[in-house]
Symmetry: C2
Amino acid sequence: NSSFNQKNHPHRRHNPLLDEWILVSPQRANRPWQGQTEKVTEEKLPAHDPNCYLCSGNVRVNGDKNPDYKGVFVFENDFGSLMKDNVEFSDEKSDFFTLKPERGINRVICFSENHSLTLPEMEVGDIKKVVDVWQQQYEELGAEDYIDHVQIFENKGSVMGCSNPHPHGQIWAQSSIPSTVLRTQENLKNYFEKNGTSLLEDYVKRELDANERIILENEDFVAVVPFWAIWPYETMIVSKRKAENILQFSDSEKFSLASIIKDLTTKYDNLFEISFPYSSGIHQSPTDGKEHTEWHFHMHFYPPLLRNAEVKKFMVGYEMLAEPQRDITPEQSAEILKNLPVVHYKEALN
Amino acid sequence: NSSFNQKNHPHRRHNPLLDEWILVSPQRANRPWQGQTEKVTEEKLPAHDPNCYLCSGNVRVNGDKNPDYKGVFVFENDFGSLMKDNVEFSDEKSDFFTLKPERGINRVICFSENHSLTLPEMEVGDIKKVVDVWQQQYEELGAEDYIDHVQIFENKGSVMGCSNPHPHGQIWAQSSIPSTVLRTQENLKNYFEKNGTSLLEDYVKRELDANERIILENEDFVAVVPFWAIWPYETMIVSKRKAENILQFSDSEKFSLASIIKDLTTKYDNLFEISFPYSSGIHQSPTDGKEHTEWHFHMHFYPPLLRNAEVKKFMVGYEMLAEPQRDITPEQSAEILKNLPVVHYKEALN
Ligand SMILES: O=P(O)(O)O[C@H]1O[C@H](CO)[C@@H](O)[C@H](O)[C@H]1O
Ligand SMILES: O=P(O)(O)O[C@H]1O[C@H](CO)[C@@H](O)[C@H](O)[C@H]1O
């Protein structure tokens, strides 16, 4: 009877943000892989692509012409998942067929006019301008009476369903609080009511003490591989102080956020020396006009890759039916990410 | 101000099994797609492949030799996510770093010795033998004192992380009830305590009355696109009577189950005339030795494809951070699946 060792023995970890468990199988990290691999194509992109519907001055599918923008450019998604229309609806109560109309606004944010860039390759000052626009958009959209939640996110890389390499993110603003955000909110709230402090503020303190999973730290933010991370290289950027949302950040805090985003995404690119795919997004207080002292701004990064540029982690079968499962431990991933340089490999080549 | 129409207007639907919502955007079904596509390779496979580690008589990676089996063959996974070992563990209480050792057993089930087959191409009688083995395995594994849950599932197709086309599924049996199963159980239990009836029994009755989302029906089972389905062609097989688990099925019920699995997976293959990828798995009562009158046997099918054999639905960005989103409505998918023949397209060619 050997004694438990989290580096060698299967175990489950608890995620306090979602109040659910994940299965960790450290002994499985070296199993052979003969399955599907991803194509890695690293063509050099032009700064302006005449066929890109996000580039300055180009015409989009619906006939609209993009302005000759420089820097950040926001427009409404031509194929949005939501509509602004206020439709008449009579709620027929039903046990099993419960539905409600949902209103909202979908926007696209181009991060730069330069088609060939990505966040890690942009100047910090230019990423700061993206953060400024996130702030403005959260304020503007959240101010609409019927918008209770503003989801800011980025899908990067074709493996993440992104159909255009032009650097861009999205905003889906809507009249309800989405399921995962609501669950997070409930757990933040329970903790805040019980302890009078922010769950994530306390967590960050414990992570800084432990110093096992922290990847980056600056004056205002940390980047950490959460103890309960499910994706092999999942990370979370958290503000050190409890800010409920992006509106509460000063200019210098926004600069700190831009800077940690640049360093984290640079480490990601350096991991396999490719443009590293991920979905990222901000969790913060909803815009439903209620008090939200429980909220604490954070940004999730969910990258799909596992062993190298070609092999991703498949969240299928067991994961879809039962619960998330990972092989490499969060501590091992953190160690790898921590040791990577914050100078981009392409720059290092020069 | 037009009035709400679920065929044209964005809306959210409630999933009573998980008590969460999904976003449906019917107006978005026709957006253009320029993103990543899947390779479709439909090579004709041999009945026996000397390089396949699942074929009869072949040697596996760990040196074990498969017997010269015919029909169903079960063995322990050489790279399991769980281990049987009972390790010593002293629980150090911690707010944020909560973990517990997890014991268990991972098995692989080959559905047939014939490397070239898949479930829809097998005889009903041979699928019935797979169902028999699921029943035996659930019984045998569940009888272990330390096994509280037995997850039976199949990953089919390389896009679902399946690395070997030999027809096979898996069983992960473990000492805890996994997160998603536990949530389902809580919702089944709440309903059962409130109404004294099974949530899924009542739901199936309502679906049979509505007759809008039912794909297949036989004496003992229905196959339905759930009102709250998230994957474009997601379906669920449910027993008409409340059976808590597979042990309660008679021989003729097992035959009915095999038969509806054959017909459903045949329709799937016929949809795009390819071997249709999916993850499927059974949800049923845990083997924790407690009474589970709330449980009702059902089997989920989660297929990733959206428009055709090459374009899948990406559950990324918004879906990972906020909530699942779909374009084509469950009613549209059901209509398409319902109208497909139950004769396999390959057989129809003969
Ligand atoms: O066990 P397999 O088939 O090698 O692996 C596959 O199924 C598992 C269970 O759904 C997943 O955890 C893996 O990510 C997937 O690649
Ligand atoms: O809106 P896009 O970039 O066309 O689409 C992508 O992101 C969306 C939001 O995460 C997803 O719903 C789509 O499945 C994905 O392909």
